[in-house]
């Protein structure tokens, strides 16, 4: 009886302790799901007070309700968020599902380290959140201005994300990717986006203009945590080859008659071949690009496919060269070439003196491209 009583008492103690372990019983943290405003996009801009924070949800708390857009400024992101919480008195902000972090160009030029550190420290945000830099505009213009009652910036950025998954002229990079690259090479690529009129008509009565939306627009390049330049979508094709992110993308060349021909790049790769001098130092870098493409549109008449392949090689060579030159000019290894060379020749790279970063701006480069047209659609290929 005594043993049974002891066991029952212990069980009771464990149940009470177990209830306390969750923490919810002692703190008023529980929130009703119906009253939550699920924030999905966070925008950051500079402000005279410190930070201008813009938030948007994909929809309101009620089903089919329009997106909710909120904004406030503060001395820090946390302070601005508290301002918004205090102001949004009808709904409870829920930031654990933020899926996009959008930074205005001005804020990016000042440096995005504080924003990245905020994500690291936050218990709510994930390191896998995709990061975007908005060209020529402030993030609040996108967060507050994009879309209408039927869609908002969250839907637009979801669309950008989905679109870029299969494409080779852009890529969504997460906060973790950017932080890792900044720690590793001091520079990083970030997906750049810009505002443009939506392809959809505004359904609301009396709307004279098409609503704006966000579209992918190449890459932003960060150096030492601050924006140092942009690569447009054409140059982003070169980035795709050099970083192993080749996907579908269109490229227009001209045929022998000077008429435009659209080719769809379907795959390819870029191999690096370091040249070493007698002292074991890096003397030059050769980049060999291989590409495959489909003939999508044009090339009527007697255009020879060999000629199109040559034009494609020329176009790709130009893009790859441009990207490499910008990397040298900005003294920023945003392509991660040092890491790739380390994998090829680890011991020689360890022995480099001066190191790759110091050698890179003056390193001689050669680029060779080999392109093949692998398909012509449903039209029979000419021999």
């Amino acid at each position: 009886m005594n043993g049974a009583f002891k066991r029952a008492s212990l069980l009771l103690i464990y149940i009470i302790v177990g209830l306390c372990l969750g923490g919810c019983g002692l703190r008023e943290q529980a929130r009703e799901a119906d009253g939550l405003l699920v924030v999905q996009t966070m925008g950051l801009d500079p402000d005279r007070r410190g930070v201008l924070l813009s938030l948007a949800s994909a929809g309101g708390a009620a089903p089919d309700s329009p997106p909710v857009r909120l904004q406030s400024a503060g001395s820090s992101i946390t302070a601005a968020l508290e301002q918004i919480r205090a102001g949004a008195n009808e709904e409870d902000l829920f930031c654990a599902h933020i899926g996009h972090l959008l930074i205005g160009e001005a804020a990016a030029r000042q440096g995005i380290r504080p924003a990245l550190d905020y994500v690291c420290r936050s218990g709510d945000l994930r390191l896998s959140v995709p990061l975007y830099i908005l060209r020529d505009k402030s993030a609040q213009e996108a967060v507050l201005g994009v879309g209408d009652d039927s869609f908002g910036v969250c839907d637009a950025l979801d669309s950008v994300d989905a679109d870029l998954r299969s494409r080779g002229d852009g890529r969504c990079l997460s906060v973790a990717d950017v932080l890792r690259d900044l720690e590793r090479t001091g520079s990083a690529l970030v997906c750049a986006v810009s505002l443009q009129p939506s392809a959809e008509e505004d359904q609301s009565a009396g709307a004279a203009e098409r609503p704006e939306t966000v579209v992918a627009d190449g890459y932003a390049v960060l150096k030492d945590g601050a924006l140092c330049g942009f690569l447009d979508r054409e140059q982003a094709v070169g980035v795709g080859f050099l970083t192993g992110n080749t996907g579908l993308c269109e490229l227009t060349v001209t045929d022998q008659a000077g008429l435009p021909v659209t080719l769809t790049l379907t795959g390819g790769s870029a191999a690096l071949e370091p040249r070493w001098d007698d002292g074991g130092q890096l003397a030059a870098l050769c980049v060999h690009v291989e590409a495959e493409a489909l003939l999508a549109e044009g090339a009527a008449g007697d255009t020879e496919y060999d000629y199109l392949e040559m034009m494609l090689e020329r176009a790709l060579s130009e893009r790859v060269r441009q990207v490499l030159q910008l990397s040298k000019q900005w003294e920023a290894d945003f392509l991660g070439l040092e890491g790739r060379l380390e994998r090829l020749s680890p011991r020689k790279m360890q022995a480099l003196n001066p190191d790759f970063a110091a050698r890179w701006p003056s390193l001689p480069l050669t680029v060779s491209v080999s392109a093949r047209l692998t398909g012509t659609g449903d039209l029979e290929a000419r021999p």
Binding site: V17, C20, L21, A96, G123, L127, R184, R340, E342
Partner: protein, 360 residues
């Protein structure tokens, strides 16, 4: 054995395996990445032979017990009755501090990952009370509980490793060939630190062993756990890169926070963090149980000793490193150093003295 019920080696290894998860997760991904870079996962594997050798030494030490002799009695035989009792008390005080530190670590993990604004005492007090009750009782309850609990955290780690595969980038893990050897060897220290603590726990709790089972099973378990931790560290470094991994306070749970299961289930880090409470509980309870045994020769068998040990652990945990930065320093510098001193100097010292005095 003080009349306690015996248990099997398999059960004791289950307890040690669960208990190892707490210090391993606190130290291994971050500290290994900080010291050994992208080869952090490799340095865990490199540490295994040394861990197995240290375990073999402790096992041999434990084998010196005579029929019915407990480990504290063996210490007193080796180092002399009074000196042995004092050395045991020293070791016990260290393990008491480690139990308090484990409670503080558990609270810090919950604060870092799920409850950023919570008071650490909110977690320390209930867990500490539960562990003090459990530690005051029979060790067989702990080992049986561990046998039941073990599949939960190990299964959770295996599941997260599987779902983390798409997050891995080869360039975060390779190349290893060009890595200098010294940081890789230095990177074995956190693993050895964890292994030493758990093997000492195993040594003290081996008093209650019964049935068959040799050191081969212990070595196999060390290798298995080492492989699991190496895989976990490789997953974290592969996902974040060693530079970012070294900066994060809870890199494994940051990885879990990023995972999406079957394109629908996400943000399960709170659930996984909660699973680690089992590990914290069992480690703390086992340590407090061993502390009681270590202090008994000096303080004598008394009813108040378990209560005093539990109260001391709770009080120390509540007062220990109130700021996160102080806790980080304690966690990465002072505690590993002190643990190394106890595990690698004090305990081998007792063995050497016993051999010199021809008492072993």
């Amino acid at each position: 054995m003080n009349g306690e019920k015996p248990y099997r080696l398999g059960q004791l290894l289950a307890l040690c395996s669960v208990a190892a998860l707490t210090p391993a997760l606190r130290l291994l991904p971050g500290a290994s990445a900080a010291i050994a870079g992208r080869g952090g996962w490799l340095s865990i594997l490199l540490a295994l032979p040394a861990a197995v050798a240290y375990g073999a030494f402790l096992w041999r030490f434990g084998q010196k017990r005579r029929e019915g002799e407990s480990l504290p009695a063996l210490w007193q035989r080796a180092a002399g009755e009074k000196i042995g009792a004092v050395l045991l008390a020293l070791c016990g005080l260290w393990l008491l501090f480690y139990a308090a530190f484990t409670l503080r670590d558990s609270a810090q993990r919950l604060i870092d990952t799920v409850y950023p604004h919570a008071d650490r005492r909110l977690f320390i007090l209930p867990l500490g009370l539960a562990a003090a009750f459990a530690g005051a009782g029979d060790a067989r309850r702990l080992v049986r509980c561990a046998k039941l609990v073990l599949p939960l955290p190990v299964g959770a780690v295996a599941l997260t490793l599987f779902f983390a595969l798409p997050e891995l980038h080869a360039d975060n893990l390779l190349p290893i060939a060009g890595q200098p050897l010294l940081p890789l060897l230095e990177g074995t220290l956190p693993t050895l630190d964890v292994a030493a603590l758990i093997l000492v726990l195993l040594l003290f709790l081996s008093d209650g062993l019964t049935g068959e089972g040799g050191y081969r099973s212990v070595a196999a378990r060390i290798a298995l756990l080492g492989a699991l931790m190496a895989a976990l560290t490789a997953a974290v470094i592969g996902a974040f890169g060693h530079e970012l991994t070294a900066r994060l306070a809870q890199p494994y749970f940051s990885l879990v926070r990023n995972l999406v299961f079957f394109h629908s289930l996400e943000r399960i880090e709170a659930l996984l963090v909660a699973l680690w409470i089992f590990s914290d509980f069992l480690l703390t309870a086992a340590l407090l149980h061993v502390v009681r045994r270590c202090l008994t020769p000096l303080c004598g068998e008394s009813a108040w000793l378990p209560a005093a040990v539990g109260a001391a652990a709770l009080l120390t945990a509540c007062l220990l490193a109130p700021e996160a930065s102080a806790f980080a320093r304690l966690s990465t510098r002072w505690v590993p150093a002190a643990n190394a001193a106890v595990c690698l100097l004090l305990i081998p010292g007792v063995y050497v003295v016993g051999r010199l005095r021809k008492r072993l």
